[in-house]
């Protein structure tokens, strides 16, 4: 530890800590620009200058850049010294020379790091009278706006985009006062992490384009803590609303998960909440087959009537909350409840869970992924299925650069030094997947195979580790690297729908453990709440549920488009048969239009609830705004139905009650709601609610003046710790996971987050960042292998002509809800297949032409890629409204009428 003095006060930190970081960790104010907590220092902007003194006698001291200095024991510095302040003010003055004074029309205004620092340094009068340099901006695609004139050349954007996220198409051009940050030419920013530029750039150069189109100042937003529903990672977000519209998402720091960055599926995928496909009214199908809208009572009556049938089936959903799934299960009974996974997904997901539970492997947090020293990805295109994990894997491959820096005495926060010294050295990453991935550029070796090939490779790796000897160099080098690793990490997932892949991966972990290694094992689930459905109960398989409905059973279908889960003919049979259906959903779907009663369900932003992520971490998301029209949380609809049926055991009045019952019902799991997150009774300092609105929230009367000039009473919130107004406390620094937005006096921008952390990049103060339902084993249990079978069954593939299909996942479009968000729909590709050049030649299909198959819905664009094994075909899932792919070979034929989809065509996916 080192004791250091700042302006006469003593503090303690780890010796060698970066001085800027150490000062901020004491919650002191010191302006900076080019430093970033996740990216370290480059000393480019000179904004963080302080005075450092030789000793107690030294009265003059010398200027030093805090971000380029490490704390030594006995160090004496001053932030407040006049000379340091003058220097910092003149740095701002230089930076502002070329900066337009366009705050009133700038989207960054009110949450701008540059504004904050300008005010903080006291630069308030402009002396510069000459012309400013100006730029032409670029069209960077549907996500990111570009206004280069505002740039202050801090380099944070390229350092994030290229160095951190591995993006290739954003650069820094020119020199001196003529620096341009953008692309070589106009065009879509390729990286799926580009959206972070909005938060990384300290000015209004890179902005959230969809947000700009219906813009609101940060201080006019009503916000709450939320969780991204985009994939099984469950990144934490701040979700913000105005005028009943979910306006935008920002990253919400979680020390174990997303830290400072989220992916673009998450950031831009939320606009389905406001989409035209949104279901807003209760509807009952009349005898003529036409829906009658808007009579909630009639809809509930009809639903009750349907549920009085002697045979009732409930189909839950991996994208619905724990509460909604539980309420449905309770309503229909466990023996009539289906978790809503497709049959193939159910098998593989159950296997995943049983590996996690019985295998006793360490399931890594995202932060632990970053710490791994050898990573092997097996059978999961993780950049497309759980993007934040891929970003963490990219950081893991940099660990060797920190080791090298350490032995060369380069401080670890010295970013340029660490990178320059390591050059191209990276930790070993191996990728075995069915198609090429966006991690291949940093992989030591990759191999592409179908799932049985991947299984075989993984089994051989396990064998090699246990002493067999194989010839395949991929196998031998992976085995060797894993055996030499200190923190080996295996990453797999359920997207290939093959439990053998998981078993074979578990076998590697097992073999490593026999060699005294402690491997971490990450299994990505397919949707945000998939793992919750597993821990809930066994339940019916989807096909047996469908058969019962086809045979006349009534059904309640919860937030689930069954056409994405089962083959169309069996869904048709169920939904077009005698069984009557009550369907609840957020957006329209093919399933919904076939229901007899439709109940509009609240989106995640309009309700409070719980999602369980890939680590089985149960996380709470809070209602951001009250739903409009007939929309209600699904659990509440189900409660209402239950109480009309006289079922007090399946009806609740507040979400906390249903959450508590749901948690209590989890078999063998001991978790209380208090452990998950603050409940409705939480008050800051025991008395204050958390205000969703900022203290400057404006226009409360004016915004409804077209209806009435009398300001409506703010809704009362009796379900969460928040208030629907500015009353209560603005983000209190002890409110941890209920902070609704990041703001502290003087720090309007998201950089204020450090004020909520115990230290820079430490835990949030007062954090309760969710609870992991399966305890992480502190020590591997040597007994568990006895009850667990890692054996791999060789799949028998029916011999038939045609191509073996395998699924391909796209970060933009494969996920159901985000695909209905208009910016994502613009980024998404149309349905496509990947085929090997030889197969394309046999078919006489050229790239860009169209093909179809009797076994698939719709036509597909041909993408020719030699990463695909000849004899197989990769089918992009979700883009045609279908996820499950045939389990047998398929024949493709050229479709002469095919029209390729143009980029920017906001045609909504998944609509027939």
């Amino acid at each position: 530890m080192a004791t250091f003095t700042v302006d006469g006060k003593q503090y303690e930190v780890e010796a060698g800590t970066n001085l800027l970081q150490a000062i901020l960790s004491q919650s002191l104010d010191l302006p900076y620009f080019c430093w970033h907590p996740a990216m370290g220092s480059v000393g480019a902007c000179r904004q963080c200058a302080v005075i450092q003194y030789q000793d107690a006698e030294d009265e003059r001291g010398r200027l030093t850049m805090a971000c380029m200095t490490d704390v030594q024991d006995g160090m004496i510095v001053s932030v407040e010294a006049a000379h340091a302040k003058d220097f910092r003010a003149s740095v701002i003055e230089w930076l502002m020379e070329n900066h337009p004074h366009d705050c009133p029309v700038c989207e960054e205004g009110g949450e701008c790091h540059l504004q904050d620092m300008t005010v903080m340094t006291g630069h308030s009068v402009r002396r510069y009278r000459d012309k400013k340099r100006t730029w032409e901006n670029q069209d960077l695609g549907p996500f990111i706006g570009h206004e280069m004139n505002r740039c202050i050349t801090c380099y944070r954007c390229v350092r994030f985009y290229q160095d951190y996220a591995g993006g290739k198409d954003l650069g820094a051009f020119g020199s001196r006062s003529r620096m341009f940050f953008g692309r070589v030419e106009d065009g879509v920013l390729e990286s799926e992490f580009a959206g972070n530029l909005v938060e990384v750039c300290p000015t209004g150069v890179f902005t959230d384009k969809p947000f700009s189109q219906h813009y609101t100042r940060k201080w006019d937003l009503q916000s709450a803590a939320s969780v991204c529903p985009g994939c099984s990672v469950g990144c934490n977000t701040f979700a913000s609303e105005r005028y009943g519209v979910l306006k935008r998402l920002h990253n919400r720091y979680h020390n174990d998960l997303n830290k400072y960055f989220i992916c673009d599926r998450g950031r831009f995928g939320s606009h389905f909440v406001n989409s035209q496909q949104r279901v807003r009214h209760a509807a009952v199908k009349a005898n003529d087959g036409v829906f009658e809208y808007g009579d909630v009572n009639a809809a509930l009556d009809r639903a009750v009537e349907i549920l009085k049938h002697e045979d009732v089936v409930g189909i839950g959903s991996p994208r619905a909350s724990m509460e909604a799934n539980y309420a449905l299960r309770q309503l229909v009974g466990e023996e009539n409840f289906c978790r809503g996974l497709s049959d193939s997904e159910r098998i593989v997901t159950d296997q995943a869970c049983s590996i996690l539970m019985k295998g006793g492997f360490k399931v890594p947090t995202v932060t632990e992924v970053e710490a791994a020293d050898v990573v092997v990805v097996i059978g999961e295109d993780i950049s497309n299925t759980a993007p934040r994990i891929a970003l963490a894997i990219r950081q893991a491959t940099r660990n060797v650069s920190f080791e090298m820096a350490e032995s060369a005495n380069i401080p670890l926060w010295q970013d340029a030094g660490v990178r320059g010294h390591a050059q191209h050295q990276r930790n070993a990453l191996y990728v075995a997947t069915s198609n090429s991935t966006r991690l291949d550029d940093i992989a030591e070796a990759t191999v592409n195979a179908l799932s049985d090939g991947i299984t075989q490779i993984a089994s051989q790796i396990a064998g090699q580790i246990s002493g067999e000897s194989h010839e395949n160099t991929f196998v031998t080098s992976v085995a060797e690297a894993l055996l030499a690793a200190e923190r080996p990490l295996l990453v797999t997932g359920t997207s290939l729908r093959d439990p053998n892949v998981l078993n074979a991966t578990a076998a590697i972990a097992w073999a490593l453990r026999a060699k005294e290694k402690e491997p971490a094992m990450l299994i990505a689930g397919s949707e945000v709440n998939t793992f919750n459905t597993v821990v809930t109960c066994e339940g019916l398989t989807l096909n047996s549920a469908l058969t019962r409905i086809a045979d006349g059973a009534s059904a309640v279908i919860l937030e689930n488009d069954l056409y994405r889960r089962a083959q169309s003919d069996s869904v048709d049979r169920a939904l077009e048969g005698d069984g009557e259906v009550v369907a609840l959903d957020v957006v329209e779907s093919e399933t919904l239009v076939k229901a007899n009663v439709v109940l509009p369900a609240a989106s995640y932003a309009e309700q409070t609830g719980t999602f369980v992520n890939y680590e089985t971490r149960a996380q709470r998301f809070y209602q951001v705004f009250q739903p409009q029209d007939d929309i209600q949380p699904a659990w509440r609809w189900l409660s209402k139905i239950a109480s009309r049926l006289g079922r007090t055991d399946a009806s609740w009045t507040t979400v906390d009650e249903v959450s508590r019952s749901a948690l209590a019902a989890l078999p063998g799991i001991d978790a209380s709601l208090e452990e998950l997150a603050p409940t409705k009774d939480f008050r800051i300092e025991g008395e204050h609610r958390v205000a969703r609105q900022t203290h400057r929230y404006s226009g409360r009367t004016a915004m409804n003046a077209d209806v009435s000039v009398h300001e409506p009473k703010a809704p009362v919130d009796d379900e969460t710790p928040y208030s629907y107004s500015m009353e209560g406390q603005n983000p209190g620094d002890q409110s941890g996971s209920v902070i609704p937005y990041s703001w502290t006096p003087g720090w309007n921008s998201n950089q204020s987050i450090f004020k909520f952390q115990a230290e820079v990049s430490g835990d949030l103060l007062g954090q309760s960042g969710g609870k992991r339902l399966f305890a992480v084993p502190s020590e591997p249990d040597a007994e568990v292998d006895k009850e667990f079978d890692f054996s791999v069954t060789q799949p028998t593939r029916p011999a038939a002509d045609g191509l073996v299909p395998f699924p391909i996942h796209d970060v933009f479009g494969s996920d159901e809800l985000s695909a209905q968000s208009w910016p994502v729909a613009q980024r998404a590709k149309g349905p496509y297949v990947l085929i090997h050049p030889d197969d394309a030649a046999v078919l006489s299909a050229s790239a860009g032409s169209g093909v179809r198959s009797d076994a698939l819905v719709g036509s597909f664009e041909v993408v020719i890629d030699d990463c695909v094994q000849s004899g197989s075909v990769g089918i992009a899932v979700g883009l045609n409204g279908r996820v499950e792919i045939p389990d047998r070979t398929i024949a493709l034929v050229v479709d002469p009428d095919f029209e390729p989809r143009q980029l920017g065509d906001a045609r909504v996916i998944a609509k027939s």
Binding site: K168, D169, G171, F173, S175, F180, V184, H424
Partner: protein, 162 residues
């Protein structure tokens, strides 16, 4: 565009010269500046197409390579005339009247700084101190350093650059 289409945008000679540079460097991208210079030597400037072709050859993205190319003012990313006049605009030359000379030069050539004469003979650019302050004002035409420049001498100086 894929690699196959791009590399042929460089001549075999250019590729050979670039590969020769690469052969004594630790990695391909270290040859970035040399490769840009080689292509410029052959073509007078580096077009967008050449830039992507070089980037491809070196295994870099165009954005990365263009960052290097645009950092250096002697890599031309726009077409230049047959000869490039780089006129020093730093302090010693300024003291010795480079300011007025620059205006004369513009009048004489009928172009502004950053422009090329209609007959493609000259491109006029400013440059920082050429390291010949004792012989200020100075300029450089192509590879030649020209000292003690005055408006009277311009005709004579230009003569050899046809």
């Amino acid at each position: 565009m894929s690699e196959v289409e791009l590399i042929p945008m460089l001549s075999q000679e250019e590729v050979a010269e670039i590969e020769a540079e690469i052969s004594h460097l630790p990695d391909r991208e270290s040859a970035a500046i040399d490769a840009l210079m080689i292509v410029q030597k052959h073509r007078g400037w580096v077009s967008d197409e050449s830039l992507s072709a070089i980037a491809n050859l070196l295994g870099m993205s165009s954005a990365e390579l263009d960052g290097v190319a645009t950092f250096y003012n002697l890599i031309y990313r726009q077409p230049v005339g047959r000869h490039v006049i780089s006129m020093c605009d730093s302090v010693s030359c300024y003291v010795m009247g480079a300011d007025g000379l620059a205006k004369d030069l513009e009048t004489k050539l009928g172009i502004r700084f950053g422009e090329t004469t209609a007959d493609d003979r000259f491109t006029l650019l400013p440059i920082v101190c050429l390291g010949a302050c004792d012989k200020a004002p100075t300029m450089q035409i192509d590879e030649d350093l020209i000292e003690n420049v005055s408006v009277e001498k311009l005709d004579e100086i230009f003569e050899k650059y046809t």
